[in-house]
Amino acid sequence: MLLEHLVVPVEDFEAGTGWHVQDRGLCRGDACVPLPAGAAEGGQVDVAMVAAAAGMALVEDEDDGVWALGSRAGGHALEGADLPDLVLPDLDGNPFRLSALHGRKALLVAWASW
């Protein structure tokens, strides 16, 4: 997730990372990480605090004043069996939610031009 500011609305943080701010902490799938006081308050997330608490990689492009927030270190690509709710565009640019694949078995195949 790219960030121009280190304090962002909770909904932006959740959409960008797939992690949700809950009473018990920051949760995704079966994993929950406790958050320190002040990390998520008033509908805003202090990304640096959350990243430190959850062990997420936060890397700054200093020349650009932009940060990228990567995954939580020490876990796995998946934090549970639930399909991450990614939204990707189709060839025409229309957003496609992976959750649209629910309802019957689905095979999601990755390929590339390279």
Binding site: G55, D92, L107, S113
Partner: protein, 218 residues
Amino acid sequence: MAIATVALDTGGSEAVAPFVPEGFTLPVLVDAGHETVEHLGFVNVPMAVWIDEEGRIARPAHAAHVERSPLRDLPEPEGEDRISRMLRQVKRIPDRGDDYPEEVRDWARRGPDSPFAVAPEEVAAASRPVGRAEAEAAACFELGQRRWGRGDREGARRWWRRAHELDPSSWSYKRQAWSLESTAEGELTDLIQAPTEAYGTGWLEEVERTGAEHYYPT
């Protein structure tokens, strides 16, 4: 059973569209930011995940060859030229193309009773482990992607080189970056991803270094 495809391509739909056959009716999603490397573990292609009726992953990211590559059955070349060395490595990359289509059919028929499906409580542990280096690599790749998108090629290369160092097992990051470069020798060597000035090594060197048996996570 539904099938959807996702193309990992920095160039977005422009890069992807020429490879989609006319009349292709399955969804073609475009992952320009390689988000599915981080979120699903697609560290190379072709890979796949299985998703059950409830929207749960029934098999985390795995190599998904639908047929055996004819290259795997060529006689072992003896030369020391680049192509011969590449073919020797290709033959060592695990290829389950003979078995995989039947595994998919078995799961389609038997669901969770299929021995190829993974129980929900075991899915996370069976997905790709993410350490500090892999987590940071994803962030670096994203910063590079941002710079590439606005035409800052050298800026992008700096971040991508860092991503490659941090997470050498992500072939998606490497093969993508190499594909955007040109070799001094021209188009043929571009296609086989020979070393470029920008990255120093290419496909052959990296496969020899990391081991063909690790080309797809098991």
